[in-house]
Symmetry: C2
């Protein structure tokens, strides 16, 4: 039955997503255990394929124009738990296990600034 | 003290975010209670200002090139709970209370397709 069931399922092809003019889709990184949203970065088809193949979340760095294996230099790696596609096939949700802080500022999440009563307020401090 | 404290805080100005060439930033909609990521849409400075002013989450529709008060026609409104800015000031996290499904397909979240063993798998069905 499992073979038959597989026959009716659509094989996932990263090339068949809807990319922007730069060939990228936004990828939301969410902690698979706490559900905290950690960051948003960008992926092209090959970085999606590498993420699935290696289990190491791999983005495309728009500033460096290069693959960005998250944590490769900092050690703050992201281990893939589950990859989700949205209804328009133009955005990804990446559920993952985060080692150390996700943000380059040393904070757990990049979304550490809140807007409260019209003012910006820092909600997290860098981790040790 | 509260006045003095406010003096040291930065007033939030939607115009001072880093927008893309279309004048937009991606906005991640997250359920404030369950932490489920519901959708990703886009905002310009004025839709951010309207969201803060009205408490109704308001995107910019790229297809219609118009403001999109989420749920205005469907009734599936999003009530703003908290707005967060990321470290690069080019992405928003919108914590909200969602009425009904967030996805136009009737599913709670737009991220209802998972990639499992190289195949796409539907993880949610439309709500009644």
């Amino acid at each position: 039955m499992s073979d038959a069931a597989n026959d009716t399922k659509v094989r996932f092809d990263p090339e068949r997503l809807t990319f922007n003019e730069a060939g990228l889709v936004p990828a939301i990184a969410q902690d698979a255990e706490t559900s905290e949203v950690l960051m948003l970065a960008w992926m092209n088809a090959e970085s999606i394929a590498r993420t699935l193949r290696t289990g190491r979340v791999t983005y495309w760095s728009r500033s460096r124009q290069a693959f960005w294996v998250k944590g490769e230099t900092s050690g703050h790696v992201q281990e893939l738990v589950d990859l989700r596609i949205d209804c328009d096939r133009d955005c990804l949700l990446v559920l993952l296990r985060q080692t150390g802080p996700a943000c380059h500022t040393g904070r757990r999440s990049c979304f550490y600034t809140g807007v409260r009563d019209g003012h910006e307020q820092e909600l997290m401090t860098p981790q040790d």
